[in-house]
């Protein structure tokens, strides 16, 4: 700090930073990207290891025998489901009661803000059925959850069958120290949301549900099971939850450990692990896996029924059975034994899962990147904003013309300066509020006047407001303050750059992936935009790097990563549905990505748009 308290050296440092600002920024940007890409390289990552002692050293035996019977139960369930045309509540209640569980039901209803075209639902009414296995001598203080969604069609019948089979087997054991709740939820995430809200007696999303009659105390961990065929080739672990929250890494470790022990193929992001990390294709594979995780996390939506548990500080994951055309097959008994083992270990927990990491990325199931390793990548991007801000600050303090006139100019400008900064800020944020609130509010009007469905109306209104915002703010400040000045845009840009830095910093702390992807696109434009660059080209670049286009690219990139490339036409349709899903996720589950983009990121981007067209 002596460096800064010595005025001479301070001056030297600052002049160096301002002189070399552009090269340093470029270097930082590429260093950040390179660092991020390096994370997937296996020698740079850590092997996963079990941190929780209660789950590590204790051995458990898996003896679940009744896989075939579970599948038969699943078929029976399917028949009853078909007969009732929905959730066979009575059948489930009776079956769970026969297995010696305390059974309760919960009914819920929810009217969506606009119809969900992907899942074809608008007014949702349903019933959750859950049975509690009371731990023999525990006083209802702790619980574990095993859930299986009751999906429409022929999906997930095996999951329900296996759930009931496990319930029967678990009921006959004496060693349970935590209550185990077997939950069959209807309408996947909506039912799960209703159940969790009922269990914790909160209401964050305006859903109506009937209160729960039985509880098991504080839930320690939860697994959601999705299984659609009698035999499977591999099990896929889904971790990404609401708002990019992840369960404790020990849960993933537990799954991996048991897959190894029992000999089940396991994948993450649908990708098997490969051993050839030193080859290019092996590295590519790891990058793809990690990028898929980043994209899913950034989307902020729950990627399985487990995703909603994370809000309540319950470690949860979804296990999906995948049946592809591999040779190696696994039957239901083996999956049952795997789950039994996992539950027995979770049952041994003395404390909540807390020993391992909550912030991580996984390039494969056996390797992870902890927060300490990936944060520098973001830090290198964020430092660019600070350097630009410093540069602007210095430029503002040392005006280019040191004549008497120049000083007088500054004095003159300082008073309208506040207004000239405030006006675009307010206007762009109002545009953001409009983008957030209007699409749902005006869907009926839109449907009346245009030949579109409600969902299309919402999405198209959102896009229309987004585009209209481009025309608005850069013209307005002139009405108030007349001609924009040189100092004016500098002050505005300083504010905007610092605003962006804070915004991205906070986002990255909560959801690294989202923060990083936004930083990747917004930081370069924040760095280069001035009113003096070529207008048309810059405007084009600015639009390309805007949040909406980032989303569009992400859609294509995501499809590419999943080895399912789409044509532009399909991609566009997918893009529209992603927007509608984002809005729905916000109103149904409280996902924060849509309000974040609409209320903060988009206005911030508008400020830079404003600077470009500063007159």
């Amino acid at each position: 700090m002596g460096l800064l308290s010595d005025p001479n050296r301070r001056r030297a440092l600052i002049s160096m930073l301002t002189r070399l600002n552009a090269p340093i920024c470029v270097v930082c940007y590429f260093a950040g990207v390179a660092w991020f890409m390096g994370l997937a390289f296996e020698p740079f990552t850590l092997r996963t290891y079990m941190s929780e002692n209660a789950m590590g050293s204790t051995m458990v035996e898996e003896r679940f025998p009744a896989g075939e019977r579970a599948l038969a139960t699943g078929r029976e369930f399917a028949a009853h489901k078909k007969k009732v045309g929905g959730m066979p509540v009575d059948w489930l209640v009776k079956n769970m009661q026969d297995r010696g569980l305390e059974v309760f039901t919960q009914s819920f209803s929810r009217t969506l803000p606009f119809p969900d075209e992907n899942k074809e639902r608008y007014i949702v009414k349903g019933t959750n059925v859950y049975g509690i296995l009371r731990a023999p001598r525990a006083p209802r203080t702790e619980a574990l959850v095993l859930s299986a969604p009751c999906s429409p069609g022929d999906n997930n019948n095996q999951a329900v069958g296996l759930l009931l089979g496990l319930a029967q087997y678990f009921r006959n054991q004496i060693y349970w120290a935590k209550d185990i709740i077997f939950l069959v939820n209807e309408h996947d995430l909506i039912g799960m949301q209703a159940w969790l809200e009922g269990y914790h007696h909160t209401n964050t999303t305006g859903m109506s549900w009937s209160p729960l009659q039985g509880r098991g105390g504080s839930i320690q961990a939860a697994l959601s099971l999705e299984l659609s065929s009698d035999v499977i080739t591999s099990l896929d672990l889904v971790l990404e939850g609401l708002n990019g929250q992840l369960p404790n890494l020990d849960l993933a470790n537990l799954f991996y450990a048991f897959c190894q022990k029992i000999g089940v193929l396991c994948t993450i992001q649908g990708k098997l692990q490969r051993n050839d990390w030193d080859s290019v294709s092996g590295y590519n594979h790891a990058v793809q896996t990690m990028m898929l995780m980043v994209m899913k996390q950034a989307s902020g939506r729950p990627w399985g029924d487990h995703g909603l548990f994370l809000r309540y500080h319950i470690e949860a994951a979804t296990i999906k059975g995948v049946n592809s055309f591999r040779q190696y097959k696994t039957d239901a008994t083996t999956i049952g034994r795997l789950l039994e083992g996992m539950y027995r270990k979770l049952n041994n927990l003395l404390e909540r899962l807390h020993q391992s990491y909550f912030f991580y990325l996984m390039p494969s199931l056996s390797h992870f990147v902890s927060i300490g390793y990936y944060m520098p990548a973001f830090g290198l991007l964020a430092v660019i904003l600070l350097l630009r801000a410093l540069d602007l600050w210095v430029q503002l303090n040392t005006p280019p013309s040191t004549t008497q006139d120049g000083v007088a100019d500054i004095d003159q400008q300082s008073s309208p300066g506040v207004l000239s900064v405030l006006t675009p800020l307010v206007i762009s944020h109002l545009t953001g509020v409009a983008l957030y609130a209007l699409p749902i509010r005006f869907q009926e009007t839109a449907v009346e006047h245009f030949p579109v469905s409600e969902t299309e109306a919402v999405v198209l209104t959102a896009i229309a407001i987004y585009t209209a915002g481009l025309a608005l703010p850069h013209n307005t400040h002139r009405l108030l303050s007349g001609e924009g000045t040189e100092q004016g845009w500098r002050v505005l840009k300083l504010v905007a750059v610092l605003y962006l830095a804070v915004l991205l910093g906070c986002t990255a702390l909560i959801n690294f992936s989202l923060g990083f992807i936004l930083a990747l696109t917004l930081v370069p434009l924040a760095a280069f935009v001035t009113p003096h660059v070529p207008k048309v080209l810059s405007a084009f670049i600015l639009v390309i790097l805007s949040p909406a286009c980032t989303l569009l690219f992400s859609v294509f990139f995501f499809q590419e990563l999943q080895d399912m490339p789409v044509s532009f036409q399909d991609g566009w349709l997918l893009y529209l549905s992603v927007i509608s899903q984002g809005i729905l996720d916000h109103s149904l589950y409280g996902s924060l990505v849509y309000p974040l983009i609409a209320l903060l990121v988009y206005p911030c981007w508008l400020l830079f748009w404003n600077i470009l067209f500063w007159k």
Binding site: M1, L4, S5, P7, G100, E102, R134, P136, R137, A138, P139, R140, T141, E142, R171, N172, Q173, I174, H200, H201, T202, G214, R215, G217, S218, R311, Y312, H313, L350, E351, R352, H354, Q355
Partner: protein, 679 residues
Amino acid sequence: MAAHRCSCWSWLLILFSLSVFVVADIHETTPVNDHHGGVDHNAQTAEQTADQPAVEERRWEATEVKEAATVDAAADIQGTSAPETVVPSSVPQPKDDFQEELVIRPLHSGDIYASFQFRTLWDTDFMRENKVSHYRLFPKSLGQVISKFSVRELHISFTQGYWRTMQWGQPFIPSPPGAELWVWFQDSVTDVDATWKELTNVLSGIFCASLNFIDSTNTVQPSASFKPLGLGNVTDHSFLRYATLPREIVCTENLTPWKKLLPCGSKVNVPPFTCAFFFLKKRGTSMPSVSVLSFLLTMFSEQAGLAVLLKSEKLFHSSFHSQAVHIRSVCQDWQCKTTSWELRQTLNSVFDLHNSGQTKREWSLFKMFSRTLTEACPLASSSKLYIDITDNPQGEQFELSPATSLLSQAVVLGDRRTFSVYDLTQETTFGTVRSLNLLIRWKSNEGEMLRPLLHAERYVAGYGLQTGEIHTLMYNNHPYRSFPVLLLDSVPWYLRLYIHTLSVTSKGKDNKPSYIHYEPSKDRVKPHLLEMLIQLPPNSVTEVTVQFERALLKWTEYPPDPNHGFYVGSSVISSLVPSTVAMHTNSTRERPLFSSFFPCKEESSYFVRIYTEPLLVNLPTPDFSMPYNVICLTCTVVAVGYGSLYNLLTRSFQIEEPNPGLAKRIANVIRRMRGVPPL
């Protein structure tokens, strides 16, 4: 050699004197026992003629219809929780008396509920006499505790598991999960808190439990919920202390000391006795009578009576286990001129059908306890086994074998129950095989359990680590009667209750409690105490909610497993519940019309105490995984970062004049010497 012989003689002497002593004792008690049986028989015949023509071949055992009602009604239901044999007051009572009984109730779920009660009565006064030194049946360790700490009444229970009221109905003796201790002290005690502290430590030693964790932060003085159950009409609750330890885990180490308090429950090493017996025989000393021998045998070699069944490997293989000790003073006779001390040891457990790995719904004593009964405890004046057959009057639900013709009826928890009785003091009970292995075999699993009229549940609502809300739900399932309940909540200080958010609602309307007693907590010193008298409307759910804030503890105050969460003890709900017997008055066909117009007093309502589940609450917890790193890092950041930033902000900087040249400096020196200001 001489020394060896000497020791042998001294052994003999001790043994002989002991046997003489015992003979005297036995002679004293035997006639009483005989007489006792006779009275029983008389009573039976008397009852037989009066009652129940429907089941003629069945004999009815004399049941106590609360003759001590004047005392016991004031006390509470625990007096009636199990039927007792009449001890007519005209008979001179033994100085001390021991009774044992086991009640087995088959539950509708296929589970089975077994409840042991052992009662020791002793006509002595620990307070008045200087020193009670001769103990016979009453355990000395407890007697000394009573006299040393001037205890008026003591209730302690250790429970593992939670009593599932909705499946199992009401228990005979309720208890909360974990350990519970409540004590009324004599009003001669001056420093109650110090005595309480000492008492908990002593009890902790006696019962091998962590009762020493009871301190001022979890002790409360309820104003209304816990009244004395014995004699004495005390209202000054400053002599009452109540504490629970919801986290206490009950295991074999607690069972063994509890069993040792029983007259027939302890196991002493066999070798010394056999050795002594051998000597007796060899020396040709006059042989003690057979009764003495059998007595010695039971005293020294094996457990006898119902205590045989108390084997930890099976008792702890159950869904519920609760053991308790209740000490109180009761009337000696109906005039209540003198009092005697009553020690009641109870043990309740529920055996689970599913966990036992059996396919048929079938239970036997051997399956439950891995033992059968072979004899009564020789020291017991009564030793009985009751099977609740109320739901099975014609034997259509389950089948009992061996069958018994002895029946008994009692009003338990507001319900008239019928029991099959096996008297273990009778030789015929054990049959030809000399052992009783009672078998209960279900024939059908139909029939609905009567819904309990009152039950409660509790949970924590909300998410996050800042605030939360405690919800207590109380269900009144009575179709048309409302009744008041007394709710006691003791919440640790680290949940800071926002008492202004307290709300009581039933049927969507505000329900104003008629009595509220609230003592706010004091950080690190005492817990919250909230007592309310709430009227529960018929057929309703009453919800009590109160919000709280989670305190941030000092980092040394966290337990070794902070992420497990912190326990909040059960709420206690005490109530006089309208009886189901009264509810069914109109539909009772067995009773004569003239007896059933007004519901009888003792049946009109009954006392129930229920406990809710304890809560597990997470408090904001620092990351303890690397405290050292965290502390170091934080301190460094604060010291370096903050210090220099502060420096930069507060210091004013001035540009220093460039260094003057050498010539100028020399000139200045000269000028200073000349007294001229420097350049």
